[in-house]
């Protein structure tokens, strides 16, 4: 399991715009870098990130080899009702990791 | 423009023997504040120690890392310059 960091408020008012920050520790190996022995390091990147808000997709992004290691993503969300936010990173070599956070909307 | 300005000052400033590459950095440590001062020491002793450190001999803490940055010719030139009293 990679270490994932997520920052969002625990509570918010209905209709409020909140900022969500995520970071996952990942090498983001481009697939182009030659190693000391002359061979090329195979690509190993996060390719896709999604955020589900009560099972509805509210944000997603495709990532490419040019993205830096430990990709940091920051995005905004309009709150509707209390529930669960699910964050999923998927990538090369069958990588998949999901983290959840609860949000209370008042 | 720069050459003219330089020429105009030529007479006033005699050239001294300039330090060979790397030599002027030595004074940061070897000026007599605790580590061995170099001025007045035999040139061969300084060059010999540096060449030994470069070859991985002896047990220096930092001088091996520094000696590896210089060729034998550069080390001999540095030794001659830092050994001269000034």
């Amino acid at each position: 399991m990679a270490r994932a960091l997520i920052n969002l408020p625990r509570t918010a008012r209905r209709g409020e715009v909140i900022e969500i920050r995520t970071l996952i520790q990942h090498v983001m190996e481009t697939g182009y870098r030659p190693r000391a022995d002359g061979s090329v390091a195979p690509r190993d990147i996060i390719t896709h990130f999604t955020c589900l808000y009560n099972n509805e997709e509210v944000f997603s992004v495709e990532l490419a080899p040019a993205i830096a290691a430990n990709p940091f993503l920051s995005f905004s969300l309009v709150t509707a009702e209390s529930g669960i936010l699910a964050f999923t990173w998927t990538g090369d070599n069958g990588f998949e990791q999901t983290e959840t956070r609860s949000l209370t909307v008042t | 423009m720069r050459i003219f300005a330089g020429l105009s000052l030529l007479a006033a400033l005699p050239a001294a023997a300039a330090p060979p590459p790397g030599a002027s950095s030595c004074a940061g440590c070897h000026g007599g504040g605790g580590m061995p001062a170099l001025a007045g020491q035999p040139v061969e002793a300084i060059a010999g120690a540096m060449l030994a450190y470069k070859a991985g001999q002896g047990s220096p803490t930092v001088m091996d890392r520094i000696a590896r940055g210089f060729s034998e010719e550069e080390i001999r030139a540095i030794a001659a310059w830092v050994a001269a009293p000034r």
Partner: protein, 406 residues
Amino acid sequence: MRRRALLGAALLAAPALAQAAPKVVVIGGGFGGATAARALHRLGVSVTLVERDATYLSCPFSNAVIAGLREMEAQRFGYDGLRREGIAVVVQAARTVEERRVVLADGATLPFDRLVMAPGIALHPDAIPGLDTEAMPHAWRAGPQTLLLRRQLEAMEDGGLVVLSAPANPYRCPPGPYERASLIAHYLKTHKPRSKLILLDAKDAFSKQRLFEEAWAALYPGLLEWVPLSSGGKVVEVDAAARVVRTEFGEHQAAVANIIPPQSAGRIAQAAGLTDRSGWCAVDPVSFESRLRPGIHLIGDAIIAGAMPKSAFAANAQARVCAEAVAALLRGEAPAPPKLINTCYSLLEPGYGISIAGVYQPKDGLLADVPGAGGVSKPGAPTAVRAAEAGYAEDWFRTVTADAFG
């Protein structure tokens, strides 16, 4: 037009100048500037040193002052040594640099044939919202801030959390935040053992990292925690009055917070139009002449030196090379390509020292590492080696301060 006018001026001035020693002004009396002034004077150049303060307080070893291991007066150096040698010392800030003359704070001007500037750094606490350096000192320039941080640590109750934040590159003294964390941890261990230190970092890697981490595991287990960028180490704002430090992913309630802000070349370098968009000064690596204003040379922490770090040792080494280059140019000669050395010691507790060294040469317009040279102290070395390097650190300090200030 401009070129022709200047040429005319130079030709007219030539007979007068030929009779007098060439005039060089040095701005900044730190390790770089003071060394440059003395080296130029020895080369027969008439030198005037312009320095804002009557005495200089050394940043090297100031972390030991913060940790109560050393007194501030041991950091203080004056300019009487330079005056005795015949160097004119003007204790005044420089306001700006016009064509071939320096304008001082009181409006007086100093003409020069060439100018050497060692302007050091400017600190930018405004880059961190909420930061008030009287409540959360940076202590990144030796002086009142150093003593303020020391007093805050002394006044802290046992069990408090000390938060230290290290900036992103580039900044003055790359291993400095880690030496400081080590020595504050030593103070806590010996005086306030229930306390903790968190070192928040805007980077994922740092100078001498393996050696610092080796020492921290041995000396300060459970006391000192390093939080890199990828673990949420970047500080985004603070509440200085409440002593709260916020990162991208959380917040810390500190008893004492030491936020080291982003930096750029010193104020006079900006005022004189010598900085580029990075906020630092690009120079030629052979002559240390500004890439933006011919006739002005820059050394020390303010410059973009490629692989060479922003250290007092580097400033001292650059000053000597720059002085030779300035003297050569005044003779109408081309300066010879130099090699330069840097060695930086860090103290992890009293009697425990480590070092990083490098040898540099001009390459592709910057100073590059000479391949195969340089590196850090051996990991896992016996305590006698660490003790020897702690001693060499003090030897270096005695030597370089004598070299710079006489």
